[in-house]
Symmetry: C2
Subunit: 207 residues, 2 copies
DNA sequence: TGGTCTTTTGACCAATTGGTCAGAACGCTA
DNA sequence: TAGCGTTCTGACCAATTGGTCAAAAGACCA
């Protein structure tokens, strides 16, 4: 058996485990944990179900590993926000990175969304821990910028939520966006970036 | 059997069907269609499974009826946007209504979100039809306001998406928001409203 | 009170689910 | 090429799933 505590994973083990993660990401991100089946994942990966279970202990184990790798990826764009940079440039860059993440990793975004919507049973601790801490830390930076008069005053935490919301929307609600706009990826994300930027920086008041 | 084509539903039929809808909304909104089970719904409603199936033909039938009733509720706040009103007042009111909907009907919001994230297999037609049409219609209004110089120029469709995103976020990602902010409902939604309004109307530029 | 229609139930079913296991096939190195 | 650890498979299992059915229980009106 492929034991996590074992010494060196073989080349095949590394390849197949990655193959399974890929396939599982497809299925979990589309159906959520309970809606996904091992048969679907196995077929998607081109393996038999017992073979799949040779590489992962259980359905939960696959899902857990995906979520585990996800959170860091998900928070990295915010970590990059530089306390010593120019406020508007930093926020602009952050929005940009988040929107690129939504475009390039929509499955990861949906996996995360599924988990949260369903009450985050498996990552509640991460939300209350690392995620909360990071937001608090960056909120301090944002608030300082506001106090220094370099950024309009608002609630920093809600500001971060707003940025998450408008960017992740383009990954999580992709079908809806496509239904309205059509499916030209480039135009969609370009226009989205322009709109979000205009909105956040100039607001809706006519100039 | 309770037949949809039947003449008059009895009092019991009306009550029990409503009871089932309520219970099913709980379960579907938390687990999505595939993740929800009839047993859960039945128990939640305080009925036996066969009894539940006496009132609804199938699991799909319950889900379909919920989605059916949902879309109108969901789009009504946008319908109310008055082409003859004052642009900023109208948009402010729309944001307000959407945020209230997120606060008062989070299960409905999550049911919708689950459906969309999972590819909208059951309401694709509604997205491409009524939803798309309504957005197009209101986009014309928004664009006219922009052309008249009464509203900053942006892409109207993406503006609507942004409003949806920031408001529904507080229903769909509730656990995450709570994990960061704590669970004081009143403060949460009050601060959210203030932040969104400041953001949308004044932007982030220091004044 | 009896009769009829509605509502509810327990027992049941086939299909699907996550997971096991013994052994066959494979692949690498001595 | 023999041997041995790794990889893979088919057959299988118990639990859960959505759904059926005949018959019992309840409600309501003559």
């Amino acid at each position: 058996m492929v034991d996590g505590t074992q010494r060196k994973p073989t080349r095949i083990q590394r390849q197949k485990r990655e193959l399974i993660r890929e396939a599982a990401l497809d299925v979990f991100s589309l159906h959520g944990f309970r809606g996904a089946t091992l048969d679907q994942i196995a077929e998607n990966a081109g393996l038999s179900k017992p073979n799949l279970l040779y590489y992962f202990e259980s359905k939960e184990a696959i899902h857990a590993e995906l979520l585990d790798r996800l959170l860091d990826t998900w928070l990295d764009p915010l970590r990059e926000l530089d306390a010593d940079g120019d406020p508007l440039t930093e926020i602009r860059g952050y929005i940009q990175r988040k929107l690129e993440a939504a475009r390039d990793f929509p499955r990861e975004s949906r996996l995360f969304a599924n988990e949260i919507i369903q009450g985050a049973p498996r990552i509640n601790a991460e939300l209350a821990g690392p995620l909360r801490d990071l937001i608090q830390e960056k909120s301090v930076v944002l608030r300082r910028w506001m106090d220094e008069g370099r950024l309009a005053k608002t609630d920093p935490q809600h500001l971060i939520f707003a940025i998450w919301a408008v960017t992740q929307h383009y990954a999580d609600f992709d079908v809806q966006v496509r239904a309205v706009l059509g499916s030209d990826d480039e135009a969609r994300f370009h226009d989205a970036a322009a709109t979000i930027e205009a909105l956040f920086f100039k607001g809706l008041l006519p100039r």
